[in-house]
C-alpha cells in the first residue's frame, strides 16, 4: 500500500483542479445560493463532470464507468472540498453507484449505472430518519403488496433529495432485514419538503405514504442488506472525509495568505508568534487528517475488510480538523471574516454541515472504540 498518488491519480487531481477552478469556484456556490436554486447544484457543471468521466469513477467499465477506485474518487473530492463544489457527487456517483454495484441485479445495474455515470440522471440515497445520523434506526417499512411493495416511512435530510431524479430508499422488510428500493420522487404518496442548510446545500425531508412499488423496484442482486448498508455508508464516509480534508486545506491556505498580507501594529499579523504557533499546530493536524484519509481510501481499494477502523478514524479526524481549522480561519481573518462578502465564512459553514453528515466526530470516535474493542 502506498501513500503516494499514482501518476494516473496525480493527473486526475490536476485536471480536477483546472475544471473546478473554471466551472465551480466558491463564487459559484454563492450564486447558487443567491439565486435560490432549488436543486442545490448547477446541471451544466454536473454534465461537465460526467464528460470528464468523474461520475463513473467507481462504476465498472461495462456500465459506462472508468472504475478507478475510491482513492481516485477521494482525489476528486479533496479538490471539490477546496472549491466547496456543491454537486450530487457523493449522493449519486458514490453512494447510489456503490449501492447499485453491490446490491443491484444485472438488469438494474444495466439500467441505472450508465445513467449515473453519464450524468443523465441524479440519484439520491435516502437513509437517515433522525436529525442525528443513526444508521441503527430504520423504521421505514416496505410491505409486500401483490407482486410489488408498499412503502411507508419518513426520511430526513436526504442529501440532494430536492434535486434528485431518482431515490434509493433504505427500508425494513417484513423480516426486519434491510432492503433498498428505487423510488421515483414524483410517484404518488411521495412528499418532498425542501430544506436549505447553512452550507447552502438543499437536502429534503421525504415522506412515503403507501407508495406503490413494482417488484423490481427492490435491489435484488446483493447479499446481506445490513452488511451492504454498512459498507455503502463507510464508502460515503471515507469519500466525505476527503472532501472535508480539502475544505480544511483550502481554508488553511487562504488563512496563511491572509496572515502574510494583513498588517496590524506595523507588521504582518503572521509575524505574531501566538498565531504562528497556532498555524503550525494546524499544519500538523491537517497532516494527520491527510494520512488517515489516504489510509482509509487505499484500504478500501486494497483490503476492504480492514477499512472500517481507518474510515471511522478518518471521518472523525477530518470532522474535527476541518471544524477547528475553519473556526481558526474566521478568528484570524477578524471582522472581515465575519462578513458575507468574504468567502472564508463559506468554508466554516460547510465544515459544520459536512461534519454532521454520516456521523460526526463523536459518532465516529465511538465506532473507533467499538471496532478497536474497548
Amino acid at each position: 500500500m502506498s501513500f503516494v498518488l499514482t501518476e494516473e491519480e496525480q493527473m486526475l487531481r490536476d485536471s480536477a483542479k483546472d475544471f473546478l477552478a473554471a466551472k465551480s469556484p466558491v463564487s459559484e456556490l454563492r450564486r447558487l445560493r443567491d439565486e435560490g436554486c432549488k436543486d442545490g447544484f448547477r446541471h451544466a457543471v454536473w454534465r461537465g463532470m460526467a464528460e470528464m468521466g468523474w461520475n463513473g469513477i467507481v462504476v465498472e467499465e461495462d456500465f459506462g464507468g472508468v472504475d478507478m477506485g475510491f482513492t481516485a474518487a477521494g482525489v476528486l473530492l479533496r479538490e471539490m472540498g477546496r472549491t466547496l463544489a456543491a454537486t450530487p457527487f457523493i449522493p449519486s456517483a458514490i453512494l447510489s453507484a456503490t449501492l447499485l454495484r453491490l446490491a443491484g441485479s444485472d438488469a438494474q445495474k444495466g439500467e441505472h449505472l450508465p445513467k449515473i455515470a453519464g450524468g443523465e440522471a441524479v440519484y439520491a440515497f435516502a437513509f437517515d430518519e433522525k436529525a442525528r445520523h443513526d444508521p441503527g434506526t430504520i423504521d421505514t417499512r416496505a410491505t409486500k403488496d401483490g407482486n410489488g411493495f408498499r412503502l411507508n416511512g419518513s426520511k430526513r435530510f436526504v442529501a440532494c433529495g430536492n434535486g434528485a431524479d431518482m431515490l434509493i430508499v433504505a427500508a425494513r422488510l417484513e423480516d426486519d432485514s434491510l432492503g433498498f428500493f428505487l423510488v421515483d420522487p414524483k410517484a404518488d404518496g411521495v412528499t418532498k419538503t425542501m430544506r436549505r442548510t447553512v452550507d447552502s446545500h438543499v437536502p429534503a425531508d421525504i415522506d412515503f405514504k403507501d407508495v406503490k412499488l413494482d417488484g423490481d423496484a427492490m435491489l435484488s442482486g446483493g447479499a446481506d442488506g445490513q452488511a451492504t448498508f454498512d459498507h455503502v455508508l463507510d464508502v460515503g464516509r471515507a469519500c466525505l472525509a476527503a472532501e472535508q480534508l480539502g475544505t480544511a486545506e483550502e481554508a488553511f491556505d487562504r488563512t496563511l495568505s491572509y496572515l502574510k498580507d494583513r498588517s496590524q501594529f506595523g507588521q504582518p499579523i503572521g509575524s505574531f508568534q501566538s498565531l504562528q504557533h497556532r498555524a503550525a499546530h494546524m499544519l500538523g493536524e491537517i497532516e494527520l487528517a491527510h494520512s488517515l484519509v489516504m489510509k482509509a481510501l487505499r484500504t478500501l481499494d486494497e483490503n476492504p475488510s480492514q477499512a472500517p477502523l481507518w474510515i471511522a478514524a478518518a471521518k472523525a479526524k477530518a470532522t474535527e480538523v476541518s471544524r477547528h481549522v475553519t473556526g481558526e480561519a474566521i478568528q484570524m481573518h477578524g471582522g472581515i471574516g465575519m462578513t458575507d462578502e468574504h468567502e472564508i465564512g463559506f468554508f466554516f459553514k460547510r465544515a459544520r454541515a459536512a461534519g454532521e453528515f454520516m456521523g460526526d466526530e463523536r459518532f465516529n470516535a465511538e465506532r473507533v472504540a467499538t471496532t478497536t474493542g474497548f
Binding site: 442525528r132 430544506r195 436549505r196 447552502s200 478568528q331 465575519m338 462578513t339 462578502e341 465564512g345
Partner: protein
C-alpha cells in the same frame, strides 16, 4: 423608615401609577425595543408615554446629574429602581448608545456647554447616536485609523470610511474618531468629533454577516463639514476618550456572552430526542463534552459574581474586563458548537417553514464575532499578559 426604604416605597408607587400595563409585558419582537431618535417610529402610544414619563423623572439615565436630564440617584437608589422595575416586569424605556457609551464620555470629557446641550437630548430619547471608531484595515490596531479631518478654521473637513457602525442607517448623530493632526505619532493626532448624520457627504451601507442581516453598517464621509464646537475634549487627544469608551464596550459584550447562558445543549438534545430512558444525553461523548461545558459555565457564573464582590471590596486582579471578555466569549462559542451538535442536522437549517428554523445556526455563526468585536481574544490575552502578569514586551 430609612431613606432607602422610603425611596423604595415612593419608587414602587410611582412605577405602579405610571408604567402602562402593556409596558409590563415581555418584549415580543425587535419593534418593542425603544431606541428613540428622530426617525424612530413608536410601536404604540404606550411605548412613547412610558419613555416620556421616565425621561421626565430622569430615570432613563438614573445616575446622571439632574441638570443634564439624569435622575441624580445614588448607586443604591439606582439598584432599588432596577429591582422595582424588574418586580413588575417593566420594560426598559430606552435603549441607547447615547446613554451607555457617549454619555459617560461626555460627562468626563465634555465642556459644560456640550453637556447641557447633548445629554438631555439623549435622556429624552430625542437623538439616537451611533459609534464611529473602526475602519477597514484598522481592526485590532484601532489607532491606525485614517479618516482625516482637515482643519479649515472654524470647522474640520472630514473624509474617510468607518466600519462596524451599528445602526448608522437609523442614527441621527455619530461620535467618531478622526485623525486631525496627520503628522503626529499614531496614537496622537486623533480627535473625538460629534457629527450630524444629516450633514452633506455622509452615506451609509448595511453590512451582511455570515449569520445574515445585521445592524452593522459602513459609513462614508466625503468632505463633511464638522464645526469645531463639535470637538469633545482637546484636539489630538481623542485616543484617551476612545480607550475610556472601549472599556465600556468590552463590559457590554461580556454581558451579551452571559445572556446566552440560557442556551442549553441539554435542552437541544432532549428536543432532538437524543436522550436515553433516564433522560441522559444518549451520546456518551456528547454528554461528556456538555458536562465539561457546564462546569466552565458554572465557573464563569461564579467568577462574574466573585469579580463583582471583589470589586466592591476594592480587591481583585486588574484588567477584569479583559479576562471576563476572553473567557465569556470563548465559552459562548463552545456553547453554540455543542448546541448544534445536540440538534444534529436540525441545527444546520438556514431557513424553513418554522419561523425558528435557522435561528440556532445563525446564532452559532453570530457567536463567532464575540471573540473579535470589542477587542479580539488575542488582544485580551495581550492585555492580560502585559497588565496583569507584567510579562515583558517582545
Amino acid at each position: 423608615m430609612s431613606n432607602l426604604e422610603s425611596f423604595r416605597k415612593e419608587t414602587r408607587d410611582w412605577l405602579e401609577a405610571n408604567c402602562p400595563a402593556s409596558m409590563r409585558q415581555p418584549m415580543k419582537d425587535e419593534k418593542d425595543v425603544c431606541w428613540g431618535g428622530k426617525k424612530f417610529e413608536f410601536a404604540n402610544d404606550d411605548q412613547k408615554l412610558w419613555l416620556d414619563r421616565m425621561a421626565e423623572k430622569g430615570w432613563t439615565a438614573p445616575q446622571w446629574p439632574v441638570e443634564y436630564g439624569g435622575g441624580g440617584l445614588s448607586s443604591d437608589e439606582a439598584q432599588i429602581l432596577k429591582e422595582e422595575m424588574k418586580a413588575i416586569n417593566a420594560r426598559d424605556p430606552l435603549t441607547s448608545f447615547g446613554i451607555w457609551m457617549l454619555g459617560p464620555a461626555l460627562l468626563k470629557y465634555g465642556s459644560e456647554e456640550q453637556k447641557k446641550h447633548y445629554l438631555p437630548q439623549i435622556t429624552r430619547g430625542e437623538i439616537r447616536w451611533c459609534q464611529g471608531y473602526s475602519e477597514p484595515g484598522a481592526g485590532s490596531d484601532l489607532a491606525s485609523l485614517r479618516t482625516k479631518g482637515v482643519d479649515k478654521g472654524d470647522y474640520y473637513e472630514v473624509t474617510g470610511q468607518k466600519v462596524w457602525t451599528s445602526y448608522a442607517d437609523k442614527a441621527d448623530w455619530i461620535f467618531a474618531l478622526v485623525r486631525t493632526e496627520p503628522d503626529k505619532p499614531k496614537h496622537e493626532g486623533i480627535s473625538f468629533l460629534l457629527i450630524d448624520m444629516e450633514s452633506d457627504g455622509v452615506t451609509t451601507k448595511p453590512i451582511k454577516l455570515i449569520s445574515g442581516k445585521s445592524p452593522f453598517c459602513e459609513t462614508f464621509f466625503d468632505e463633511v463639514k464638522v464645526p469645531k464646537a463639535n470637538l469633545i475634549g482637546t484636539a489630538g487627544k481623542g485616543w484617551d476618550i476612545a480607550k475610556y469608551l472601549l472599556s465600556h464596550e468590552r463590559t457590554n459584550i461580556v454581558g451579551a456572552g452571559g445572556m446566552a447562558a440560557g442556551l442549553n445543549p441539554v435542552g437541544a438534545a432532549h428536543k432532538s430526542g437524543e436522550v436515553d430512558d433516564k433522560g441522559r444525553i444518549a451520546d456518551p461523548m456528547l454528554r461528556a463534552d456538555v458536562a465539561r461545558l457546564t462546569i466552565d459555565a458554572l465557573a464563569f457564573e461564579a467568577t462574574m459574581r466573585r469579580v463583582k464582590d471583589e470589586s466592591d471590596a476594592g480587591q481583585g486582579v486588574g484588567a477584569r474586563a479583559s479576562m471576563l471578555k476572553y473567557i465569556g466569549t470563548e465559552l459562548n462559542k463552545r456553547r453554540h458548537e455543542l448546541n448544534l451538535s445536540a440538534m444534529g442536522a436540525d441545527g444546520l437549517l438556514w431557513e424553513g417553514p418554522d419561523p425558528s428554523d435557522g435561528g440556532p445556526a445563525r446564532d452559532w455563526l453570530r457567536s463567532r464575532a464575540n471573540s473579535i468585536e470589542g477587542g479580539t481574544s488575542e488582544i485580551q490575552l495581550n492585555i492580560l499578559a502585559k497588565r496583569v502578569l507584567n510579562l515583558p514586551g517582545a
